[in-house]
């Protein structure tokens, strides 16, 4: 019964969409780290994407609301900061949904060190989500939300967004 409740909760969370990238569920995004059945109460462990992501509180409310609506409550959400969220946690299914939505999905995150930033650098080629060409250029490392960068496809001339690896 307990296992069933947890499984149903995971199913429900697969339907709760990210408010800023509504192509993805919070499960696709990889921010749901655990669902724990405490008997009376269900605990959902979430890891925030960016320190200043304004969607964090909204996501928490949507998650709890969806669980209540399915009769799986009472539930509470807890925040787990470590390990830090990375785009590597976005599921393959999530990356496919991003591409279908017109956002170039993130590539793998390169190992992080305090290696000096290369002043003249070569960005890995980002494929255009519309025509697939890798002849693209970055317009800005920052986009409409903290998690995205703005690009332009030189082949088909369409602008697009890229979910940047972090």
């Amino acid at each position: 019964m307990a296992a069933d409740r947890v499984q149903r909760a995971w199913d429900v969370l697969g339907e709760v969409l990210d408010p800023e990238v509504p192509a993805l569920s919070v499960r696709d995004l990889g921010i749901v780290r655990d669902v724990i059945d405490h008997g009376e109460e269900l605990e959902v462990v979430l890891t925030p994407t960016y320190s200043g992501c304004p969607a964090t509180e909204v996501i928490e409310q949507s998650v709890l609301g969806a669980l209540q609506a399915e009769g799986l409550g009472p539930a509470r959400a807890t925040l787990r900061r470590a390990p830090a969220w990375t785009t590597d946690w976005i599921t393959d299914e999530g990356k496919r949904k991003l591409l279908d939505y017109g956002i170039a999905p993130p590539g793998p995150v390169l190992p992080e060190g305090v290696s000096p930033i290369r002043i003249v650098r070569r960005e890995p080629a980002i494929a255009c989500p519309r025509c697939g060409s890798t002849h693209t250029e970055r317009l800005s490392a920052f986009g409409s939300t903290a998690c995205k960068a703005m690009y332009r496809c030189v082949s088909c001339r369409e602008p697009f967004e890229h979910f940047k690896p972090i």
């Binding site: 200043g52 900061r81 800005s140």
Partner: protein
């Protein structure tokens, strides 16, 4: 009518956290001022995004500072109800935003500093601070890349862009000494494992600045005996105006929420 001010205890660990949180908060406030005023839409968005990251980092660190202080103050009370003398940000970040050259050069200085600081704080003896740092270090990397790109572009751009960058460097450089000045707060943090002594970040920071400024065609100005003292609560004449704007809502409507 106004809300009563609060003060945190003079504990070195709390003070160390306030230095980090307040520096991120005040730089975030200065960057947010560019919203609607940047030279291009892309830069407007980039600066606002970085402000959002910095304010987010500040929220987390100030929340932790409030917990260690033990009076039960939250992030909002810390940001909006402390007075000028109780803010512990370095003076560098409170200077008015200046022109775009001034802003991107200061961002380059601060992103390099923050990246070194967060990277070291990943190993903090305080688990919460270590967790905050694990996230923030990745954000600082994007900020650094953005700022470095612009500094090189302006340095290698036109005579006018180089002139502006050089002016900005002369204005900013004297305030960088404070980042690495030592005192008992720094000493205790290093000894307890809470975080690095900021003085120890000086060598790698200098090396990064030398490489960046060399690429941009600028020389590092000579050092001067001047050391600002924002992190001890002695601020420039600009800080009061910044706080007046940032805090006005909570001061005018105490306890107001969205």
């Amino acid at each position: 009518m106004s809300a009563a001010s609060i003060q945190l205890k003079n504990d070195p660990a709390v003070q160390y956290l306030l230095r980090i949180g307040d520096t991120a908060l005040v730089l975030g406030q200065r960057l947010a001022e560019w919203t609607g005023h940047a030279p291009q839409l892309e830069e407007d968005i980039a600066l606002a995004n970085m402000a959002l990251d910095l304010v987010g980092q500040a929220r987390a660190v100030l929340t932790r500072a409030g917990q260690l202080d033990g009076h039960g103050y939250d992030e909002d009370q810390l940001a909006f109800l402390r007075e000028e003398r109780d803010f512990r940000n370095v003076t560098l970040v409170e200077l008015p935003r200046g022109d775009f050259a001034f802003t991107v050069l200061r961002n380059a200085m601060m992103a390099s500093f923050f990246r070194l600081l967060w990277d070291s704080l990943k190993h903090s003896s305080d688990e919460e601070l270590a967790a905050i740092a694990g996230k923030a270090v990745k954000e600082a990397r994007y900020h650094q890349q953005h700022a470095f790109d612009w500094v090189v572009r302006l340095g290698q751009g036109t005579d006018e862009s180089l002139r502006r960058l050089r002016t900005a460097l002369d204005q900013l450089w004297p305030y960088t000494a404070e980042l690495f000045s030592e005192d008992e707060v720094d000493e205790q943090a290093g000894a307890s494992g809470l975080g690095p002594r900021w003085a120890d970040l000086s060598d790698p920071w200098d090396a990064q600045m030398a490489e960046l400024l060399g690429e941009a065609g600028l020389e590092i100005p000579k050092g001067t005996p001047f050391v600002s003292a924002g992190k001890r609560g002695v601020h420039s004449e600009h800080m009061g105006f910044l706080l007046a704007e940032m805090q006005y809502l909570q001061r005018a409507y105490p306890g107001g929420v969205w």
